[in-house]
């Protein structure tokens, strides 16, 4: 039966707020998520600049101690719950997953839009903590809400934890939707081992989303009940156990860093073969190492509690388990580098970001080693060394990959090209600013500078000053990068359907894609990375 050829109409039409807000189209939902998380990225980023501005010199500069505590708390809470957890899965993931596996939408389109609304609701509740005088009601517990401080604090613990609780539902809905989509909606011929690695990484991240998020939900619920009803489970004064909160909190919050980094690794695995024109090296190893990381991530939370009064034997068991994460991570890095071997490598901006990611991520991964080692972690725990380490994974890893992915798929999303020169300027500004911010933090952390300090001893001044200067450059970089991308949406030159010559399915449809993604569901006959086979033909 001949398929009726429909007229091409990009998904960006019809316009109008109503058509966006009530949409069930995964591409629109992905973009709405993108706009929302970028707003919170901006707010949380401004908080970070406030923190660094305060720390230019010892003593009080722009805010008092409480103000400083509010700034780092808002920075952490917004970055984690509102920006980086939905960061890649809900934006690039939502947009690309159905396109990559040759489907017309996700499995539950209505749950998908529900997830976005729930996200907005959660975000509003979190921001609700800002209603009221800053001095007494703005949250100052740190994003970790450690008890008993979070039980005693007079500030807005309930709105923020309730907001995070609600955001958890959005996260679970997305994860559930992705798993069902990947299981049930792959196009004919799209076997598991032909899927793009980004899909594998989303699958692994989704597993963590559905299995870890309920634990933070119950933990935060217990904390809220602690404040409302005084149930005493985390309250030492009533016979409860404050360290139980830390255990339950990190049972979620450690796996959650892999929700953040696994999709970032997936983005890099998509970009590298396209710009090296070569098959990805060790496809199965990369795919399975994502699953391995997801699995192991559930058994390592104890390394956040190496000095929290745990029994000595559980400390070394958690140390051993933590080292287990290093192996699949190392395998991935080697495979990415191997992909470039005897390729034809070009350096457009997405590739710069991918290579920059590998550089920064090796620092992030390797500085994890002294933190997993018991003897050295005791000294480094809760110092700036830890701060620098996780910023290398979160910003140097996830954010760099997100921005690289946005450059890579921007022509797909909007059918327009950004200015390549500006994109490269943006990358190098970010690269220099980022390293300038966090390398000094490694040094002062090793010298013993504790984290979350509104004020510091004079001996740490040089490193703090350097770090603050770097942070300003780091902040500037994002204005260049996103300025360029936003400019492209309105003024960029029209992009070809497949400007980078990718073989992946999402590029085999017009840019921007039509509402239904494909006129006809494609039949897949080969894996995604057949760049070597293609040249023989």
């Amino acid at each position: 039966m001949a398929h009726e050829k429909t007229e091409y109409r990009p998904y960006l039409e019809p316009k109008g707020l109503y058509n966006w807000f009530w949409t069930v189209d995964h591409k629109r939902i992905g973009l709405m998520y993108l706009y929302s998380i970028l707003i919170f990225f901006l707010l949380a980023g401004l908080c970070a600049l406030g923190v660094r501005a305060e720390l230019f010199y010892p003593g009080e500069q722009i805010v008092d101690h409480h103000g400083y505590n509010v700034l780092f708390t808002l920075h952490g809470a917004m970055m984690v719950f509102l920006f980086i957890v939905p960061g890649i899965p809900a934006t690039l993931g939502n947009f690309l997953l159905p396109l990559m596996i040759g489907a017309k939408d996700v499995a539950f389109p209505r749950l998908n839009i529900l997830s976005f609304w729930v996200y907005l609701l959660g975000a509003i509740v979190v921001l609700g903590s800002l209603v009221g005088p800053p001095g007494s009601s703005w949250l100052d517990t740190g994003w970790t809400f450690y008890t008993p401080y979070s039980i005693d604090s007079s500030t807005g613990v309930i709105p923020v934890t309730l907001g995070a609780f609600i955001l958890g539902f959005a996260s679970i809905l997305t994860g559930m939707n992705f798993i069902v989509t990947i299981h049930r909606m792959r196009a004919p011929g799209m076997t598991w081992h032909r899927m793009p690695l980004f899909v594998w990484s989303l699958y692994s991240a989704s597993l963590i989303q559905v299995l870890a998020t309920p634990v933070i939900a119950i933990t935060l619920l217990l904390l809220i009940m602690e404040r409302v009803l005084g149930i005493g489970i985390f309250d030492a004064g009533m016979g409860g156990d404050p360290v139980l909160f830390e255990n339950m909190f990190w049972f979620y919050s450690h796996p959650v860093v892999y929700i953040m980094i696994l999709p970032a690794m997936g983005v890099v695995a998509e970009i590298l073969p396209v710009f090296a024109r070569k098959p990805i090296f060790g496809y199965r190893a990369i795919a399975y190492s994502s699953l391995a990381i997801a699995l192991v991530s559930f058994f390592v939370w104890g390394h956040h509690l190496f000095v929290s009064g745990m029994s000595n034997w559980s400390r070394w068991i958690f140390s051993l388990l933590t080292f287990a994460v290093a192996i699949p991570t190392a395998i991935k890095v080697f495979n990415w580098i191997g992909t470039l071997y005897k390729g034809s490598v070009s350096f457009e901006s997405p590739m710069l970001y991918a290579c920059g990611f590998i550089f920064l991520f090796t620092i992030a991964g390797l500085t994890g080693l002294p933190l997993a080692t018991l003897a050295t972690d005791v000294h480094l725990h809760d110092t700036y060394f830890v701060v620098a380490h996780f910023h290398y994974t979160m910003q140097g890893g996830t954010v760099v990959a997100l921005v690289g992915g946005l450059h890579f798929w921007w022509p797909k999303m909007y059918g327009r090209m950004f200015n390549e020169k500006m994109a490269q300027v943006g990358f190098w500004t970010l690269f220099i600013g980022f390293n300038a911010t966090f390398i000094p933090q490694f040094i002062m952390g090793y010298q013993g500078m504790p984290r979350r300090y509104a004020d510091y001893l004079g001996e740490f001044h040089d490193m703090h000053f350097l770090s603050s200067v770097g942070a300003m450059v780091n902040g500037l970089a994002y204005f260049i990068i996103f300025g360029n991308l936003i400019w492209a949406v309105f003024k960029g030159k029209r992009a070809a359907a497949n400007p980078y010559g990718s073989l992946s399915l999402e590029w085999q449809t017009p840019s921007p894609p039509p509402l239904t993604n494909f006129d006809e569901i494609p039949t897949v006959t080969d894996w995604t990375y057949g760049y070597g086979d293609q040249q023989k033909a």
Partner: protein
Amino acid sequence: MISDATEVAARVDMVQIFIFGMMAFWFIACNAVLVYFMLRYRRKGPDDKVANIKGNHTLEIVWTVIPCILVLIIFYYGVVVWKDLRVPPKDEPVYEIGVTGQKWSWSFKYPNGATTGNELIVPQGTNIKLNMISSDVIHSFFIPEFRVKEDVIPSMYTYLWFNAKHAGEYNIFCTEYCGKDHSHMLGKVRVLDADNWENWEKTGLMLGEERLTPLENGEKLFADRGCKGCHSVDGAKLVGPTMLDAFGRSATFASGEAYTVDDNYIANSIKYPNNQIVAGYPANQMPSFDGQLSDSEISDIITYIKTIKSE
């Protein structure tokens, strides 16, 4: 970078150097190869031929097994040294000191009954064990130069130990976020040589130090015990009421009852701070100093408070 002031700290540094060496090697190796590939195989034209390599099992097994072995070595080395860092040597005498963390100061209680605030005084070359507990939220006790750190938790004793090589002064930091003045919850370890320690243990004074007058001692205690963090002496409203013109002041409690500040009221408030809360201030903020300050020290503090006058 940072000196090591105990024998174990020097061994921790050896682990650190070993790991840093390994990190440097892998960082340079990975990125040198990355950059080399980027330059060597950069695109020369649209018709570049590429090698159709999809993987290499031997190579992949090698680069899985080697990191496994290396991390096991690091893990083992780390545990061995950590055991000595964590557990005081058996069959050797240990001098035990009680530590209480509270917002935002440290109190130390010695076997001879002496107490100090924010200044931990210990003899050189002795195994010191600190038994620590918090009277409010979670704190963490950190001496960078000794490479020791352990959380200080309400309702649960934790411990750490060290043996300082030399006499000298070292920083104490609180490393678990504990609220507004977390960054001012600082202390010092003063390691004394044998003569000085003997004298201090007997008299509470350093060699050559004069005994303080009650007023001077009160002022010192007011600073060392962290009173200043919440009670200003210049009239500013902090967490608790200011001490400026406090003595003789009349006001009302949260219960509505009127009172006038006298010696008994100050002494009671230091020992049982939550019994009588001044209207307009939150309860359950101040820790009890009952048993942490002697009657003579409380009397010195009262002497000092009487002198805080605006004119």
